[in-house]
């Protein structure tokens, strides 16, 4: 099953990069430029962002011991969006690495607030309410920042980007997100074993020498970098970070830590599929990819809530 998913991932990546085949039929020089300058950044962002959402979603869910926790529900995405908008106004939208840092800072601040408000091992209601409050506050602050936009162009730029878009990003922007997020994801993966042990309860993990507080700070900091960097480049894309880990745990017999790698693959597949759909659906104006993931993600999210309620009441 895992092999199948990995093969699917590679196939989709190739499809995303090469289809439609137009660039290959042009003359070699132009085709190469098209592929490297236009297609490659988009493919890299879609795959990297999907994987980052999957890994950090799985890590956050493992930390809070709750399948409803995720980058978007925890307010990390909206915090990152606020951070990047503010950073964009101050520093301009042309410095991708600085924007990525602002996004990561915003995401980190939002998740630290969640940790303070709800605590580790919060019940679902507290977690959702605290995450909702943070998301609303960050969303309102972002709207305020947009309303005070220095120019209408800045407003439209920021608005388009907020809806989640991977169109027309440069290779530099893609790498500015990929590099920090890649490192953060690598470090998150090294905590897979500790997160599996946390499934036995914080106290048991602590008796085996792990430090719950330190692990919580590490997971939050690293997830913030992974998600924040991509939000700064491609806007907030919802639900992938929620759904991918849930599907991934079906492959790991429920183990939350070792679900991170399958969650990365599934997240990348979901986002690649969504972007392929965006490119294929004939509309006058391209649909922001975040709208599509939300359209498909919401029913899955609702299904999850219903099944959780059943398992609690039965």
């Amino acid at each position: 099953m895992r092999l199948f998913i990995a093969v699917l991932m590679v196939g989709l990546a190739a499809l995303h990069l090469l289809w439609p085949l137009a660039p290959l039929q042009l003359d070699a020089e132009l085709g190469r430029t098209l592929l490297v300058e236009l297609r490659l950044p988009r493919t890299l962002i879609v795959i990297g962002y999907g994987a980052a959402l999957g890994i950090s979603g799985a890590a956050i869910q493992a930390l809070f011991a709750n399948p409803l926790a995720s980058p978007d529900i925890s307010g990390a995405s909206s915090g990152a969006a606020l951070g990047a908008v503010l950073g964009g106004y101050w520093l301009g939208f042309s410095q991708p690495l600085a924007l990525a840092a602002c996004g990561a800072a915003g995401a980190g601040a939002a998740m630290m607030m969640l940790l303070v408000l709800a605590g580790r091992r919060a019940d679902s209601a507290t977690l959702l309410l605290a995450g909702l409050a943070i998301s609303l506050a960050a969303g309102a602050a972002t709207s305020l920042a947009l309303a005070l936009a220095p120019s209408p162009f800045a407003f439209y730029d920021a608005f388009d980007w907020l809806m989640g878009s991977v169109v027309d990003r440069s290779l530099g922007q893609a790498l500015a997100a990929l590099a920090p997020a890649g490192i953060a994801c690598g470090l998150l993966l090294r905590r897979a074993h500790a997160l599996d042990l946390f499934a036995l309860g914080e106290d048991v993990a602590a008796s085996l020498g792990h430090r719950p507080r330190r692990l919580a700070r590490e997971i939050i900091g690293l997830s913030a970098i992974a998600v924040g960097a991509f939000v700064a480049v491609a806007g907030a894309i919802g639900f992938v970070g929620l759904v991918a880990p849930v599907l991934a745990r079906r492959l790991t017999r429920g183990h939350p830590g070792r679900a991170m790698i399958p969650a990365a693959l599934i997240g990348a597949i979901l986002l690649t599929l969504a972007d392929l759909a965006v490119r294929t659906i004939p509309l006058d104006r391209p649909l922001p990819i975040g709208v599509l993931t939300a359209l498909f993600g919401t029913p899955l999210f609702l299904y999850l809530i219903v099944t959780m309620r059943r398992s609690v009441t039965s």
């Binding site: 042990l197 036995l200 106290d203 048991v204 745990r249």
Partner: protein, 239 residues
């Protein structure tokens, strides 16, 4: 195996405590609610960063990594709730660290978990979960078992079976420390620590402990035919 605790303390819950115990015995921790039984277990298990030093065979436990700690000690917390729907068999494997199918099968046999092994642990009853988590704690054959209320929620058969299992472990040199409320269990233990107000008040053979006046004072009960009764001085009339 020796366990030596020097000046182990947790703020507001456990006064600086010295303790020296050797393997091969069953030690009961008894005392009123909130007296410090769980705090002592948690401090010895290294769950919280306590003041003082805990040494096992001379090694300072706080400085050891996961693999070494697994071989030395295991802690069963009072809470039997696990967040994730992991199969009972996998919970035991997590206690083991490395995959060892033979050991897992042995534990499933010992705690009669065959019918439950592939069910998610959060779908089991509290007593069934206790058995799974005990198997998890025993999996790596630790030299020290710190068990918080292991008999709670167990049916009578399992109370007796677990006593026998713990006695077997002690015979093989394990030090078993058990926090418990059910004083009827006390006579199965070799030694009893009475903990109240965040300090060890008494350290006796169980029979001597129960017979002492200090025990009655702290627990506000006295022995009565077939059980216990509230001491006349501590009786309250219902409003």
């Amino acid at each position: 195996m020796t366990l030596v605790a020097t000046g182990v303390a947790l703020p507001h819950r456990l006064d600086p405590t010295n303790l020296s115990l050797t393997g091969g015995q069953l030690v009961a921790l008894v005392g009123p609610n909130g007296g410090g039984k769980t705090s002592l277990l948690r401090a010895l298990a290294g769950v919280e960063e306590a003041a003082g030093v805990v040494r096992m065979n001379g090694e300072e436990v706080a400085k050891l990594g996961e693999a070494r700690r697994r071989r030395l000690l295991a802690f069963l917390p009072a809470s039997r709730d696990l967040g994730w729907p992991i199969a009972a068999r996998d919970v035991i494997a997590l206690g083991l660290g490395a995959s060892d199918e033979a050991r897992i099968a042995e534990l499933i046999e010992l705690l009669e978990l065959g019918a439950l092994a592939d069910r998610p642990i959060n779908r089991l009853s509290t007593g069934e979960r206790t058995r799974v988590l005990l198997a998890r704690a025993m999996a790596a054959r630790p030299r020290l078992l710190l068990l918080d209320e292991p008999f709670a929620n167990l049916e009578p058969y399992w109370v007796l079976r677990l006593s026998a299992i713990l006695r077997d472990l002690a015979k093989r040199g394990t030090l078993v420390m058990v926090a418990l409320h059910d004083l009827h269990q006390l006579d199965r233990f070799d030694r009893a620590l009475l903990i109240a107000n965040g300090a060890i008040q008494m350290d006796e053979a169980p029979a001597d402990l129960i017979a002492s006046e200090r025990f009655e004072e702290i627990f506000r009960i006295s022995a009565a035919p077939g059980g216990w009764m509230i001491r006349p001085a501590d009786r309250r009339s219902s409003p």
